[in-house]
Amino acid sequence: MNGAQLIVAALEEEGVEVVFGYPGGAIMPVYDALHDSGLRHILSRHEQGSALAADGYARATGRTGVCMATSGPGGTNLVTGIANAYADSVPMVAITGQVATPLMGTDSFQEVDIFGITMPVVKHSFLLRDVADIPRVIREAFRIASEGRPGPVLIDLPKDVAVAETDAHPLLAGPQPAPKLPDAAAISRAAELLRNAERPVLYAGGGIAIAGAVDAFRRYAETSGIPVVATLKALGALPTRHEQFIGMLGMHGTRAANNAVQNADLLVCVGARFDDRATGRLDGFAPLAKVIHMDADPAEVSKLRVADVALLGDLSGTLERLPAAEIDVDPWMAQCEREREECRPRYDAPGEGVYAPAMLRELTEAAGDDLVLACDVGQHQMWVAQHCHIDRPDRHLTSGGLGTMGFGMPAAIGAQLGNPDKQVVCITGDGSIMMNVQELATINRYRLPIKILLLDNSCLGMVRQWQDLFFDGRRSEVELDDNPDFVRVAESFGIPAFCVERRDEVPAAIDRLLNTEGPVLAHVRIDPQANVWPLVPPGKSNSTMMEEA
């Protein structure tokens, strides 16, 4: 067998079923080896689509996503997807073809140093110079990608190594190491802080889903009775309709959630990282609170906010060992609930045009329990977070850390391939969809039954909103009134589509979107002036929320 065949065999040994990629010169030996393998290869129409689809697959299944591309531009096109996985701690293995080792460093055709280019955005990377290293490197890559705090691992494979003959065989996956847990002394200190708290808040982060700790988190939250706020990536850790859920915190969070944190005397951070979009101005964040910080990653503790107690290790095990607060949280919970009810959004906007927040809410009310939402980036992403019912974090795929416009459609492709029986809806905007519009061809190629809800305000809405608010209304390069006819675009890719322009068309449109067999796109025209409210201005404290005038 040659190196490429060994790579493919090793991927199979790791349990890989689906690979997202795009062929080219330097990676041709691997594509040749795919012929004789059981791997299902999904051809995207741009390598960024491959990487983001692998990311969406990983988020929706909990398994490591795999993508591959050729050398040079193939590799550089993967980079945004790799960085996206890095920013959101998504397990991914990316394999790039490389020019043959004698040509490396000679500026040869389609040669770039992808190993060097990706170094800041990978958890680890390998340059395979010896065919005999393949079994070890593949095994290590999958272990590193998924253990502890997950992330992307890059393997660069020179063409001469891919065609070299070898007697090596894939390594068998060993037993998973026992999860690490915080020491008993730290648990005791945390328990003491909980005993002395009067206004504790659980600050839920994306790590809960990553660690598979949703059930443990829910048990702890319900047993302790502590109010819960969530980051964008933790929405659904507690169902958003749960009575203890106060809301998303941060820049576009709810006033109730931000007030809960600002008034808390103890913040129990569960797999979150004090990201600036969640905290606002850091020195004004949770000013009265002591902090218990639970995380799998030691480097997150006291990075931005000093932790009074750090609980390092597996989140489920940590939550199971943490005693519930032996305090009466009912008065505090009642205060948080009251504030939540006072700031409930209204859906009776004036006019006859489609009101996007209301449509999104109705969509999740009409859809079944198996709904997976894959979001793009911009105003619609925040409206989804604010207005959709989200029951589990792995049903809400969103580019939180990197904020990658163009994430939605490839992520939906990955999610649908990983969950053929679930209903996958991609929520996108007229800016975002054009970033990876070519992936409509992938949806059509595999007849994936993805439903695309395109909210079109004919502008880059979030940038336009910021220019209006923070740049004296001086709009710069945000008008997209020359967009293509999206219905005809979708139809030209073989995907049926229809247009929605008025509010009274919304119920029928949702019904048609959800109940059309196969893929479908709904092109929804919305108000170009609509904004996302509330909003914490950049650089301000979360206590400084702007509301709709």
């Binding site: 190993f115 060097g116 170094m119 800041p120 680890h124 990377s125 390998f126 340059l127 110079r129 590193i144 200190r189 020195d283 964040f285 949770a286 000013p287 009265l288 609170a289 002591k290 902090v291 990653d297 030691p298 480097a299 503790v301 006291s302 990075k303 906010r305 000093v306 932790a307 009074d308 107690v309 750090a310």
Partner: protein
Amino acid sequence: MKHTLKLSVQPAEGAILRIIGLVERRGFNLVRIDADRSGADEQLYMELDVVSPSRSIDVLKRQLEKLYDVINVLLLNTNSDQFEIKESKAC
């Protein structure tokens, strides 16, 4: 404040770049680097002097410890303990 970090590193492709890149990316300035792989054990030993006006050296140490090629990191001229209970500045 200047800090000195002493690292033991598994010599692997890109290991030195990975370490230097992380230090600068995380907001520290490198003012001295020593790297030596001439010993009988063929291991790579590095000493870095770094300065930052505001970032925590303890966090940088933990970020370096996460790198797969890094075997261990010693912080030489500091008396801080990264896991001791500290009073929150905001309290």
